[in-house]
Amino acid sequence: MTTRIDARFARCKAENRPALVTYVMGGDPDLATSQAILNALPQAGADVIELGLPFSDPMADGVVIQMAGQRALAAGQTLLGVLGMVEEFRRKDDTTPIVMMGYYNPIYIFGVDRFIAAAKAAGVDGLIIVDLPAEEDEELCIPALKAGLNFIRLTTPTTDDRRLPVVLENTSGFVYYVSMTGITGAAIKSRAAVGEAVQRIKSHTDLPVAVGFGIKTAEDAAEIGKHADGVVVGTVLVDAVAKSLDDGKATERTVAAVSDLVADLAAGVKRARG
C-alpha cells in the first residue's frame, strides 16, 4: 500500500525538488491557534508536517522548542489533544502526511497499543520518537510498523557505516538525517559535510533522506535541498510563533507569521535544483 508519506516524496521527486518538511509544536501557544497554524501549512507550501507532542523534559531540544512545549503544556495540551488536532486537520486534507514527533514517556503512559490505534484512527502517518533508538525497537517501533504506521528514524553524524544498517533496518517512510551533533536550533557548521553524509546514507537505503537541524532560511533550504530529498525546518517556525505573541498570548499576526515563513521556505526548495 502506498502511504501518504511515500506518495508525497514521489510527487516531489517527480517535480525535481526536495520536500519541505515543517515542524510545529502541537498546542502552541493554545489549541485553537495551533490548529489554525496546522491547517494553513499545506496551502503555504509544506509538503510534510511534523507535529510536536509536548513533553516536560525535551532533552534533545534547544530553548526555542523547550519553551514552545512549556507554552503548550501550560495551555492544557495533552496527547489526546494533539491527536484531536490531526483528526480535525484530516477533515479537509487527506493527502498531506503528518508525522508525530516527541518523546516516549507520554506514549508509554497512554499505552502503546491504545496509542497506535488512536493515532491510526486520527490520520497520523508516522512517528519520530527521539529517545527510542534501534536498540529499543520492541517498545513501539515494531508494533507501529505492524499497524501500518511509518517509523522514521534519526541518523546523526555519529551513526557510522557499521551502525547505519542497524538504524535503517526498521526505518520506513523516510530517513531523518540530523545535520549536526547537537540540539534543535543550533547552526549548521558545514553544508558540504551534510551533502556527503546524505550520499553515504543513500548508499545504504532507497528511502528518501530528509535533512534537519540548523536550516533557518530559504537559502539554507535551497542549498541543503540540492542533495537531500527533503529539508526539515522547525526552530525558526516555532520562533516565529514565539515572536508573534503578546504577553504569551496569540495575536492576529501569529498564524500568518508561520505561513509567510513557510511560503518563503517553499520558494527556497523550489529553486534548489533550478
Binding site: 513533553f55 516536560s56 523534559d57 525535551p58 532533552m59 534533545a60 531540544d61 534547544g62 523547550q66 503544556l73 495533552t78 496527547l79 518523546y103 516516549y104 514517556n105 507520554p106 506514549i107 508509554y108 503512559i109 497512554f110 527521539v130 529517545d131 527510542l132 533508538p133 534501534a134 536498540e135 529499543e136 528514524r153 534519526l154 541518523t155 546523526t156 553524524p157 555519529t158 551513526t159 557510522d160 551502525r163 538504524v167 540530523v178 551533533t181 547537537g182 540540539i183 543550533a186
Partner: protein, 404 residues
C-alpha cells in the same frame, strides 16, 4: 559460583533489570554509549585498571571507611545495635568519590578531553571537580539554580577546584533540570566529552557501572561486620535519591535473605501532598526518562513532576532502575521519610554522636530511628552514612530558626 538464582546478575545484555533500565537515548548518543560499555568491559578485565583504582581508593579516598558502633544512639533508641558505615569520612565528604575515580580513569582510557556532570546537593559536583583537578581535565558542572542557592559551600568548592558551574534555570532549577541540560551539552559535544553521571541511573551501562564502583561500600561493610560481630547484620539502611549509595550498600547483601534492606526515600511534606515529595517508588509509577525506564513522579499524561525534598540530593523525580526492580520484587523495602523526620534525625546524630550527617543521610537515619526500637538488643542495623553535613549547616540553621 552458581549464580542461577542470584539477585546480583543484572542487568541483562539489553541493560535491563526486569522491565527497568534500557537505553532510551537519542541516536547521537547511542554509538558513544555502546563504546562506553565496550570500554568498561575491557577495563574490568584489565588488572592494571583495578590496581590503579585500588591504589587511589586507599591513598586518595582513604578507604576502607570505618564501621562505627553508635553507642549513645543505640542506648537512646533502646533496641538493635546501631552502626554507621562512615562514607562521610571519604575524601570530599561523601561516597560520590568512589564512582568518580572509577569513571575518570575510564574517561582517560577513552581519550576524552572534557568532563561534564550534573549535581543536586553538589556532592557529586565536588567529587567530579576533585578528580578533574587531579587528572587535569576541564570540567563543567550543571546545577539547578535553586540548588546553587541552597548549597553555596559546595558551589564555592567546585569553583575553587577549577570547575565551571553552570546554573540551570529551566523548570524548578533542581537536579532533573540539571540532568536535562547536561544531556544537551553531551549531545552537542559528544566527540570530546565524557559525561560522568553521579547516580546509578541513566542509560545502560551507567546504572551497572555506578553500582559496581559503589559496591565497595557493601563489600567492605560485610567484611567489617563479620570481624566485629562474627555474622551478618540483621538490617541495612541507606537513603535513596537516584540511589547510588543505596545500591552500593545493598548489592553485597542481595543474596542474603536474612539481611533486611531498607531504602529511605524523600517524603518531603508527606506522600499525600501533591508535588510535595520526591518518593518516586512510594508515590510514582514506571515511565521513561533520562535514558531509562524506572519509577517516576509524573502526571496522568506522562509529564514529569518536579518533586520536593529538604535535601537537594534527593529531590529527583526518578530513581535508579535496579531499585525499581528491587522494589517490585520486594527484596528491598522502600519507605518515605518526611523533611521533619530527617531534620530530627540530623539533630539527634549531631548531638548524640558528634557527627553532622548530610541531610540525605539523615533520611536513612530517620528510618533507623523507626526500625531499631522494633528489633532485639542482640540484633544490629547498619546505616550507610553517605555524606557529611557541613554543606547543610546553613540551610538547617535557617529551618531551626538559628539564622535569619
Amino acid at each position: 559460583m552458581d549464580r542461577t538464582n542470584s539477585l546480583r546478575n543484572g542487568p541483562d545484555e539489553h541493560g535491563r533489570f526486569g522491565i527497568y533500565g534500557g537505553r532510551f537515548v537519542a541516536e547521537t548518543l547511542m554509538p558513544l554509549i555502546l563504546d562506553l560499555e565496550h570500554e568498561y568491559r575491557a577495563a574490568k578485565a584489565d588488572p592494571a585498571y583495578a590496581a590503579e583504582l585500588k591504589h587511589l581508593a586507599i591513598h586518595y579516598t582513604g578507604r576502607p571507611s570505618p564501621l562505627y558502633f553508635a553507642e549513645r544512639l543505640t542506648q537512646h533508641l533502646g533496641g538493635a545495635k546501631v552502626w554507621f558505615k562512615r562514607e562521610e569520612l571519604n575524601h570530599t565528604g561523601s561516597h560520590k568519590i568512589n564512582n568518580c575515580l572509577g569513571q575518570i580513569l575510564l574517561a582517560k582510557r577513552m581519550g576524552k578531553t572534557r568532563v561534564i556532570a550534573e549535581t543536586g546537593a553538589g556532592q557529586h559536583g565536588v567529587a567530579t571537580a576533585t578528580v578533574c583537578a587531579k587528572f587535569d581535565l576541564p570540567c563543567t558542572i550543571f546545577m539547578g539554580a535553586t540548588d546553587v542557592e541552597r548549597q553555596m559551600p559546595n558551589v564555592l568548592r567546585m569553583k575553587m577546584l577549577g570547575a565551571e558551574v553552570r546554573p540551570v534555570t529551566a523548570g524548578a532549577g533542581t537536579l532533573k533540570d540539571a540532568m536535562n541540560e547536561a544531556l544537551r551539552d553531551w549531545v552537542t559535544n559528544v566527540d570530546s566529552t565524557y559525561y560522568l553521571i553521579g547516580t546509578a541511573a541513566g542509560p545502560h551501562p551507567y546504572p551497572e557501572m555506578v553500582r559496581d564502583f559503589q559496591s565497595v561500600i557493601g563489600t567492605e561493610l560485610k567484611e567489617q561486620f563479620r570481624e566485629a560481630e562474627g555474622r551478618l547484620p540483621d538490617a541495612v539502611v541507606a537513603c535513596v535519591g537516584g540511589g547510588s549509595n543505596a545500591i552500593g550498600t545493598f548489592h553485597a547483601f542481595l543474596d542474603d535473605p536474612d539481611v533486611a534492606l531498607y531504602g529511605a526515600e524523600a517524603g518531603g511534606h508527606g506522600i499525600d501532598v501533591d508535588n510535595g515529595h520526591a518518593a518516586s517508588m512510594t508515590g510514582g509509577r514506571p515511565g521513561v526518562l533520562h535514558g531509562n525506564r524506572t519509577y517516576l513522579l509524573q502526571d496522568a499524561d506522562g509529564q514529569i513532576l518536579e518533586g520536593h525534598s529538604i535535601s537537594a540530593g534527593l529531590d529527583y523525580p526518578g530513581v535508579g532502575p535496579e531499585h525499581s526492580w528491587l522494589h517490585d520484587t520486594k527484596r528491598v523495602t522502600y519507605a518515605p521519610i518526611t523533611d521533619n523526620e530527617a531534620l530530627d534525625a540530623f539533630q539527634l546524630c549531631t548531638k548524640m554522636e558528634g557527627i553532622i550527617p548530610a541531610l540525605e543521610s539523615a533520611h536513612g537515619l530517620a528510618q533507623v530511628v523507626k526500625l531499631a526500637p522494633t528489633l532485639d538488643k542482640d540484633q544490629s542495623v547498619v546505616l550507610c552514612l553517605s555524606g557529611r553535613g557541613d554543606k547543610d549547616v546553613e540551610s538547617v540553621g535557617k529551618y531551626l530558626g538559628m539564622l535569619k
